[in-house]
Amino acid sequence: MVPEGDFITIIGSNGAGKSTLLNLIAGTFFPEAGTVEINGKDVTHWPVYKRAPLVGRVFQDPLQGTAAEMTIEENLSLAVKRGQRRGLRLGLDKNRRAEFMRLLSLLELGLEKRLDCPVKLLSGGQRQALTLLMATIGQPQLLLLDEYTAALDPKTAQQIMAITDRIVKEHQLTVLMVTHDLKQALAMGKRTIMMDRGEIILDLKGKEREKITVNDLLAKFAAKSGRELTDDRILLHG
């Protein structure tokens, strides 16, 4: 149960079920038992495309969230019609271009000057920023971020996180973010849950979460699960 407007970060060891959880919500897989409800609608067996008006998603792989051969403005025009019927109207016109320039300028990456540039020429960070923008256009109820900074260098990751913060606050989005970066998990959002073997073993929010450190998190994991938190990709920031 995720309340509206909440921003939850999800951590856990390999195979804990973090990505499975996001895939179940997005509709990539269907659950064997249980139901998925978004905004009171039972979407358990809806395919991915049918959930699009409800769910926006940024993927771990920057190549997945955008169409490489298409230009920046064409990619954005695909996002504008999120979950709506697509017709024989031209995908781009003056108004849409102006709107895209405004949205891109908010990213502060200079992309607003490169509307007709094929996305394949952008860096991984730029592509993730664009995907983030596309995932939030059309006001989905829920934004899923799936280790979306894992493929980026630390500086770019910081930049993308700052952009995320701004967009989430502006649209008051409900967010679920999976991350391997424990520091990021505590720095972003309002609530952190820790998963192990498909179960939620820790749920941190409010005052308790503000005080906690990365080392406390590791200790709590060991205490709850009786094992060390193991993950070949986990980031501890020394």
Partner: protein, 307 residues
């Protein structure tokens, strides 16, 4: 004499450029290796021919042939997306079925269209100069189709189609039903191929059940030549490249014939051309590997020296 051959070659190139566009769409836009083409090309020809010999208006006959091609392409799309059979096999299944269907439609293996009313004879009767009749008509038809296709690929639905081949995960997460988009794209592509077949039979004056053999390679050769001539992924230029590629391909074939190649050898010549063109990146890598290694070694040595 030379001018006649040249003009005839360009006319053929134009008619076949519609086929090439029908190959470009699945192969380059949808990333779908569609072999339906080999069956939808003669399908268009046989539908048009049978309707024409039964006295149907040739424009209507050509349009119905186009619709028949759309149905054929959609069949492949449905086999692939709904029954989860691989795209390659789906195309082969439709293509094989079409062989029987085409024979059923025609009732025999070959229909001559001499002295029948075709698109070309109708327009000639309007008082068009016969000398350049086919050249002008085909140029107009091809340009019209090109502009309609370009426009379509820039519409909302057309862009979703392009995204389906480029990044299916993304377009699904934005609400595009990739199954439906694939079916639509394959339908459209094979409609163009059937249109090409319908015009071919009216141009050459007969339909043969075997006229589809090797068409996929012809289409691919045209697409690849076009990409060499027009190096851009921008749709308007890419489709122009396909047309130019088709004409150049026909010119190359005409030259090969003049050089004394037997017409029956042309298919292997085309196939080898396509293999060389598609394999060029790997071949180049294989050939320059040693050179590259040498250069790296040199740089390594000089780096060590400067340190």
């Amino acid at each position: 004499m030379w001018l006649n051959i040249l003009q005839g070659t360009i006319e053929q190139g134009l008619v076949f450029s519609l086929l090439a566009m029908g190959v470009y769409l699945p192969f380059r836009i949808l990333d779908f290796p569609d072999l339906t083409v080999e069956g939808s090309f003669p399908l268009g020809a046989s539908v048009a021919a049978v309707l024409i010999i039964h006295g149907v208006n040739p424009f209507l006959a050509t349009f119905i042939a186009f619709l028949a091609g759309i149905l054929a392409g959609m069949t492949t799309g449905i086999i692939n997306t709904k029954l989860k059979i691989s795209g390659l096999l789906a195309g082969i299944l439709t293509m094989t079925s079409l062989y029987s269907i085409n024979l059923r439609i025609m009732g025999r293996a070959n229909i001559p269209l001499l002295r029948e009313t075709t698109i070309l004879t109708v327009i000639k009767a309007w008082g068009f100069p016969e000398r350049y009749l086919s050249l002008i008509i085909f140029t107009l038809i091809v340009l019209l189709v090109k502009f309609l296709l370009d426009y379509f690929l820039y519409t909302e639905i057309g862009m979703a189609l392009r995204a389906t081949g480029d990044s299916p995960v993304m377009i699904e997460s934005l609400g595009g039903n990739t199954d439906h988009l694939k079916i639509l794209g394959l339908g459209l592509a094979n409609g163009l191929v059937a249109l090409s077949g319908a015009l071919t039979c009216q141009y050459q004056g007969f339909t043969d059940v075997g006229m589809g053999i090797g068409m996929i390679v012809v289409g691919l050769a045209s697409v690849i030549i076009g990409e060499v001539v027009v190096r851009t992924s921008k749709i308007v230029f890419a489709t122009l490249g396909v047309i130019v590629g088709s004409v150049i391909y026909r010119l190359a074939i005409a030259i090969a014939l003049q050089l004394g190649f037997a017409p029956t050898d042309l298919k292997i010549v085309t196939a080898v051309l396509v293999i060389l063109a598609l394999g060029a990146p790997s071949l180049r890598k294989f050939m320059i590997q040693d050179e590259f290694a040498e250069r790296l070694m040199e740089r390594g040595v000089s780096d060590a020296q400067t340190k």
